[in-house]
Every structure is written in C-alpha cells, then in structure tokens.
Symmetry: C2
Subunit: 309 residues, 2 copies
C-alpha cells in the first residue's frame, strides 16, 4: 500500500458525568485525510482544505502526531499528508483530535500496522498537546478505538474501550461562537464537594453498567453532571433551553461536548435522534447565534479506510 | 410457610474507589436469623445470641426494619425474630446491615414475597438509620441483592446489581479495635480536589467495566482510592503494612471495609485469597491488636434460606 484515504471521526469528550475520562466517536461527522509514502524522508503537509491551518509540520497537530509515531519506528522514507477539514476547530467535537488520530491511525495502516490502536494513543496525544497545551486523550482515544472509551488513568496511561449499545445515536448542535478549551478549563473550580464527587462517580458507575447491559433507562438516569455542566453551561447561549427541548423530545441525556460550545444529546434510535436535533434547532430559532446540527450513530471502529492504492 | 431460618451475609461497603456507592456480599461470613409468624400482632425479638443487643423492637435494627416493611403491607398477624449474631458490631463488615436486611428479606419470604428485593432496600435502610444515624444503602443493598451493587443515587434511590466475576474472593482482617462510623465520617474532608475526583471516577468506571468484562487485571488496576483511604487508614493500626503484604501475596486490591477497622483484599481464586489472608495474619504478628480473619467467595444471591417449615 502506497497511499490511503481515511475517515477521521469527530468525537464527544466528557459525556456528562464522565468529565475528563469518557469519550465517544461519531460516524457521520469527521475529516478526511490522504496519506502517501514518498521516497524523500520527512513529513510534509501538502494541502489543507476546509480550514485555514498551518502547513508547517511542527505547527500542525497531524504533523506533530505523525512525527511522534515515526520517532518510535524505523522508516527511511517520507510521508505526505492532505487534510480535508470538515470539523471546525473550536467546535468542541474533537477537531484537533481527528487530525492527530487520523495522522497516526492512517500512517500506522500505511506501514502495515506495526502498532496496536492502543499504542497509537500517546502519539496522537502529542498533537493534542500542540493544540491545547495539554496532552489529553479523551478525544483521540475514541477517534482511534471507536465506540465509548474510558481514560481510567494518565499515569500510567490506561484506556479501556467500553461496550457501545447499537441503538445509541448522538444529536449535536454547534453554536458558532468561540469557547477556547484553555478558558473553559480556567473557570472550573479546583475543589469540589465530596458530596458532588460521590454523586458523580455513582453516575459514572451507572453509565458504564448501562453501556454493558445495554440498559437505555440506566444510561439515561446516569447522564447527569453535577460538577462541570453547572459552570461551563454559562458560556453557551441558551444551554438550559437546549437541554429542556432535547429532554422533552425524548433524549436519554444532554451535555456539553468537550469544553463546548457544542451541545450533544444521546438518544435511542436514529428517528429519536433526528427529533432531538429538530428540537435543538427550534430552541435556537429565537437566539441570534448561527449554528450547525449533526445527527450520527456511534462509530464502533474509529478511523476508517475509504480508499487505498 | 410459618417459620424460616436464613443466612444474612456480611458485606463490604465502599470498595476502594467506590466510596459511598459500591458494596459486595460475602458468602462465608454472616448472621443467622429465625423468623416465625405468630397470631398475636406485633414484632417481637425473642432471642439474640452471640452479642449483647437490645431486644426492644424500636431499639433493634432488625425490629425497626421489619416494622418499616409491615407499615407498607397488610398483615394482621405478628412475627417473632431470633438472631444469632456472628458478625461483630463495629467490625466494618455490615453487622447492622445483616440484621436489617435479614429481617426484611426473611419476612418478605415468609409473607410470600410481596416485595421485590430492590423494594426491600428502603425498609432495611431504616435499620441502618437506627444504627448509625444515616439511612445508607451500601451494605443493605448487597446483603439483599447479593454480588456487587452500585448505589447510583439516593434521591431517588437507584440501586444497580452489577455483574460479579465468579473467581473473585475476599480476604478480611478485623483488628479488634473500635472505630465508630460517625467518627470515621467526621474526619473526612468535605471538599476534595477536582483532580482527585477525576481519578476516582476514572477508577469507578474501570472497576465497573472490569466487573462486566471479568477482566481481573482491570479490576486490579481500578481498585485505588485517592480520597478516603489516605485519611481513614490512619485509624487502622498497621494499615500500610497490611496493604503491602496483601499486594505482595498477589491480591488484586486492598482497601478499608466500610468505615473500618476491617481491611479487605480481593483476589482471583480461593487459593490466592487464603494466601492473602495468611499474609494479613503474618503482617499482624508484631502488632499487639487481637484480630479475626475471614476468607469468602462473593455471595451472588444475598439472604439465603437455610430451613423453612
């Protein structure tokens, strides 16, 4: 294989109670990337369409992630990367993670899979470090592994792919305002009450149990966040309205995607997810903020090959 | 059925990362209880052996729990309860919960099971309220349901029975010192760092995932407590020594049972659990505190009928 074209999924991190530990991959939303082997050593980003992003390898998350992989692998040739950005940077659905995970996931496939998907996570995290200053894994893990993922620990890194019930679908509204990850992190309290902590880990336990037993009611009851949502939702115009409308339309749960501004809802079945998306849309008609809507099933496999030659 | 003799299991609450939400039932350690129907209305505790505990219905956890059940059920007769206490009060392995759960579990069986096991939990919690001032569910839930249980929420009460891998065994050392639940609660900080909270709910997610996938390594990695153990372990003589010895002997994880002073370890297989118990014993030879040791598999069903007539 000399060249590969791949789909790099958008992702939802945090997922209500799972702040900093849970994430999931989307199927209908993502970037595309072409990676090809070249004889000239080095990594070159030859083209980026859809967004204005740096082509310099060391300034680009895909470049940095690919470079981290090649540092650990003997390969005398070079690679060229073309990126078709469909996920808007700053949307909160893992734009940088799609590029970082796509680069290492695609490169790994091109090289004959010398690394497992789990082994790719630390390389992709280097891309996240460039993007936000923090080498977090909660978006690159689901982008690489697919489905629901749990980052149990960073030291040592321990990422678990959880079971993903087949009927789960996501509806996402992306209000086109800028919320910087660094800013949305700054407003969080560094201390929380033990009482809220207990409720939060009770819900994480319930959500994980619900994912394994495919108990949609339990998933729904567990999708509550007592720690982060009350604070970060203040940065999202009309958040309470969106949440109420989505719940009214039958969503299992609603939360902030990553550090926002996108808001996601999970539903059982694609019909319900579309109704929830419509409720999002209607709730935003009186709010003077442009927005985009996505509806997607959960992507069970992560990075996908679209073409190879 | 006019009379029933039952086994009321001891239980481990908290289970490392699962402070206030997780619990499990033991198989080899527990009380016995005889409950019989009488014609004279009312609840009478006719005999308690093994411990000095009040026979007055309103002063006894079994009496109070049984009374809570009968308040919700039309029954014109009365009942008599005999309790053979084998679990020492204040041991941290659910002595009061065994009495409370036993009373309502046994009474429900005697009455032809008008309530589901889940429905019995609030009645048993009334016994806990008498014992410690707090109507907590983390011991009565596993005592009634068996296996591993998660108290996801108290308002509304939402208890989930989790999967319990068949090879899991517990080793317990009970140092015979008094640690009052109320005291061991008082020394906890009411605020925790968000960082520790995230590590804790990452581990709860990992532990629940490990229980469903029967991944003993993941269970082991997840059995860490960053919040409560560092504080409460100070009340238990030789805690660090016990923990190190059990881990050295191959335990999957070690923690404080309930609010202590008992210390538990979980192991894969009964042989390993016995070796861990031996390690507990050896670690305590130089400590001038008398102790008891228990080894038990996890009880999958909760309250068990021993005899009925």
């Amino acid at each position: 294989m000399e060249c590969i074209r791949i789909f790099c999924p958008a992702t939802i991190a945090n997922i209500s109670c799972g702040f900093d530990v849970l994430g999931l991959a989307l199927d209908g939303v993502g970037d595309e990337m072409i990676i090809r082997k070249t004889e000239t050593p080095g990594i070159r980003i030859t083209k980026i369409s859809g967004q204005q992003l740096p082509l310099e390898t060391d300034q680009n998350v895909a470049g940095v992630a690919a470079k981290a992989l090649l540092k650990d692998y003997r390969y005398s040739g070079g690679i060229e990367i073309e990126i078709e950005k469909k996920i808007k940077p700053g949307s909160g659905i893992g734009s940088s993670a799609a590029s970082a995970a796509g680069a290492v996931g695609g490169l790994n496939l091109l090289l004959g899979e010398p690394f497992s998907k789990h082994q790719l996570i630390p390389f992709a995290m280097q891309g996240e470090k460039l993007a936000s200053g923090v080498a977090h894994a909660d978006n690159v893990a689901p982008a690489l592994l697919g489905g629901f993922t749990l980052v149990r620990s960073y030291d040592p890194l321990d990422v678990i792919k959880l079971n993903t019930p087949g009927q789960l679908h996501a509806s996402i509204i992306h209000p086109q305002i800028e919320v910087k990850t660094a800013d949305s992190r700054k407003i969080l309290k560094t201390q929380i009450s033990l009482k809220d902590g207990i409720r939060q880990w009770g819900n994480v336990g319930g959500l994980v149990a619900g994912l394994y037993t495919e108990d949609y009611d339990l998933i729904s009851r567990s999708l509550e966040d007592y720690i982060v949502e009350p604070i970060r939702s203040m940065l999202i115009p009309g958040y309470d309205k969106l949440k109420a409308a989505a719940k009214e339309a039958g969503a299992l749960g609603v939360g902030i995607s990553g550090s926002g501004p996108s808001v996601f809802a999970l539903s059982k079945g694609s019909d319900r997810a579309r109704e929830v998306a419509k409720a999002f849309q209607e709730a935003y008609t009186t709010i003077a903020v442009p927005f985009e809507i996505h509806v997607s099933k959960i992507n069970p496999e992560g990075i996908k090959i679209l073409e190879q030659w």
